[in-house]
Point group: C2
Chain length 425, copies 2
């Protein structure tokens, strides 16, 4: 559904160019948003038909249920190799969602050799290598251990990489930035299990391997493994789904998703990283100097406006609410600024509480569009003081041949007909 | 999966009777949980078979996905009238879940005449009665308005009512207390819409009606409608599902669920409550005096241990983690105490942050069971100072003929064979 305007109250002064209004506007009681001028229908009792769904009994109960048949556009968009259907990605439709939680059915996917159907009774997690007591855990044994919960995002290191293209791609926001999702994860602090197996002091890395047919593997720095890494067993309350790593996966809050190994079955403690495909040929970035960045784990601060956004159309001048998501792999989002004049002036958006570290943060700002063409941008600032860079700054530092870790400011041009385009501006 | 024990470190002193341990125990680095004494398998490289799911390509991508086929017990349990299949309830399987979010597919249901299949293009929300500008909103118009998000629980006023039975029922926790679920809801503050229609000062109640074939209706006090009531459009990120009120429902944080009207299509501002079936024949409580409590909106503080719980079995003496949920319709959970000696002594559980008002709060506590029979209890205290009552206290105040708003302390007897029973103790 396209957003349509509310005619603005006449007495509101903009706080920045392009019609941005004060973020606290909607918190005031009794503010008139426009009343009869909005095209709302005055209620006419005679015109109130009883809809057909009030005339016949509704459908039965369901053990699990699914979204409305009218919401068929809110699905994961799949981009997979037709000749190897288990290899590819699927995107979270961020442009169709609100709030901060990603439903489990819409969490993005990245598979290298399909989704394994693992029998939890047979699955084992093995800790070996530089441990004094290498051990294997069954699921039943792991359920003995203490658990914690946290909400955090998981983002692919390759998310938003179309930003490196010479021409801006025209696609809905979710199919550009939707290799990022956010959930409440519950599991065992990995440090407890490492301690059980007697991690030896000379161990500097853990080689994590999944039990998929690709045996996906990467090296994890020991400092992160001992910090906030979880062996996750539950996602948004229920057991992790097959495509998210059932029966268990790693969660490394703020680190690129490839390290959050799914279907985890092996952790080998070692002195040196493995130099696997996913930390050499992939997930490294060639810089202008010809050197490559490697082990660039942390996803830097990013933000994107989800509404209004390309694929939707404004229905004329009036009041809108700009809404979007911001996140940082370094900590908590401190501020999100919005510009409606291509970056000449900025206004701070309202941030939805609670503000959680390494988690999606929803931002919103009232905006009065006067019908003129203009450019919308958002920029995130995290609690380390890091500010999301303009695209020109990122390109100057990283060159044109990057592929991973693209986090530049995103710009949408609003044309006078209300349509939106992704632009470099 | 039944929890099985970890042999406890010998140097940990209990903090209360029955083997309760300090809630900060798991926060300490380097604590030995038992090592080789846990029955863990020492890793033997020769014994590491490659499982069958690593030998063949996995399954394809899915647009929405579903839980693992091995988790078929984590479903809503339906209790409906076979002759009127749209009338009844379904329960959230709280005993199979962890964390605080309830997945949308597992949110409890209460339907009076089935789940309507509403076309959002045709649906209208009408505000009429004591408004200076009665109006009808289409979905498209409503999407013009500002939104906010909040996590909160929704609980049926009849949840846990088997507690009034003379004998304790023996059933999994979710089928006793699972008419309660918790989600992140996103929608429009109702106060904004009431203001748009010009709510008149003499209006004291709103009569809310759903567009189901039962035309479910109740009266909502105007103070709550102007406070934190939401017209919710999204649940856990995606549009609300049909069984939760698609395309829109009311959310009144902390109030009994019957007021959170689903499939909302009409709000009539009036001076006196409607005295509908659901606020007279139902959702009232006969007291010992013969008088009935009416308009008992707020769900008082409650807690329940979800693991270990009836239907599961402890596998012998050793260390366990007690885990459960607490919530209060008045505000934030301040403390949850656990007793492992039938209420003689209590120890405070660890509360999972962030602590959110009118929301599920996950509590956990380490516990060393010595194999003796004993009784587990939990009690919640909220930030008003209210403490969940013992069952005898609740019965003394409210009598034996109650049906709604049962929130007494729940007790489980642990027998020497590790089985658990619901008891009145």
């Amino acid at each position: 559904m396209s957003p349509t305007p509310i005619l603005p109250p006449d007495d509101l002064e903009p706080v920045a160019g392009g019609g941005l209004l004060d973020r606290r506007m909607f918190l005031r009681q009794g503010i008139a948003l426009g009343g009869a001028g909005l095209g709302l229908l005055a209620f006419d009792a005679d015109a109130t038909d009883v809809p057909r769904w009030m005339k016949t009994p509704g459908g039965p109960f369901t053990n699990y249920g699914e979204p409305s048949a009218y919401e068929k556009e809110a699905i994961r968009w799949i981009s997979a190799n037709a000749k190897a259907p288990g290899h590819g990605i699927s995107w979270t439709p961020l442009h169709r969602l609100e709030g901060t939680i990603t439903p489990n059915g819409l969490h993005f996917e990245r598979h290298h050799n399909g989704v394994p159907a693992i029998d939890p009774e047979q699955h084992r997690l093995t800790l070996h290598g530089l441990f004094s007591k290498p051990i294997q855990f069954s699921l039943e044994q792991l359920f003995r251990y203490p658990m914690v919960s946290r909400q955090c995002f998981v983002e692919c290191g390759g998310n938003s990489n179309a930003g490196w293209h010479e021409e801006p791609i025209q696609t809905p926001v979710g199919y550009f930035h939707g290799l990022a999702s956010s959930s409440e994860w519950t599991g065992i602090p990995l440090s407890i299990l490492l301690d059980e197996a007697g991690l030896q002091p000379e161990a500097r890395w853990l080689v994590a391997e999944g039990a998929d047919a690709g045996a996906m593997n990467v090296s994890i720095p020991i400092e992160k493994a001992l910090d906030d890494t979880l062996l996750a067993l539950y996602q948004n309350g229920e057991r992790i789904r097959p495509e998210q790593g059932y029966p268990m996966r790693l969660i490394l809050p703020g680190f690129e998703a490839v390290l959050n190994v799914k279907w985890l079955h092996r952790l080998q403690a070692v002195k040196e990283p493995l130099m696997s495909r996913n930390e050499t040929a992939k997930y490294t970035e060639l810089e202008p100097s010809g050197k490559a960045r490697q082990f660039t784990f942390i996803m830097e601060a990013k933000s994107v406006i989800t509404q209004p956004s390309p694929g939707f159309r404004l229905k004329g001048p009036g009041l809108y609410q700009i809404s979007g998501l911001a996140w940082s792999g370094r900590g908590t989002i401190r501020r999100v600024d919005i510009s409606a004049d291509g970056g000449r002036s900025w206004a701070p958006a309202a941030l939805q509480e609670p503000l959680l570290s390494k988690c999606f943060t929803r931002f919103r700002l009232p905006w009065r569009w006067d019908g003129s063409p203009l450019i919308l941008k958002s920029r995130a600032i995290d609690d380390t003081g890091y500010q999301q860079p303009e695209r020109s700054t990122l390109i100057a530092e990283r060159g044109q041949r990057g592929y991973f870790h693209y986090n530049a400011i995103v710009a949408f041009a609003v044309d006078s007909d209300g349509s939106l385009r992704h632009v470099y501006a």
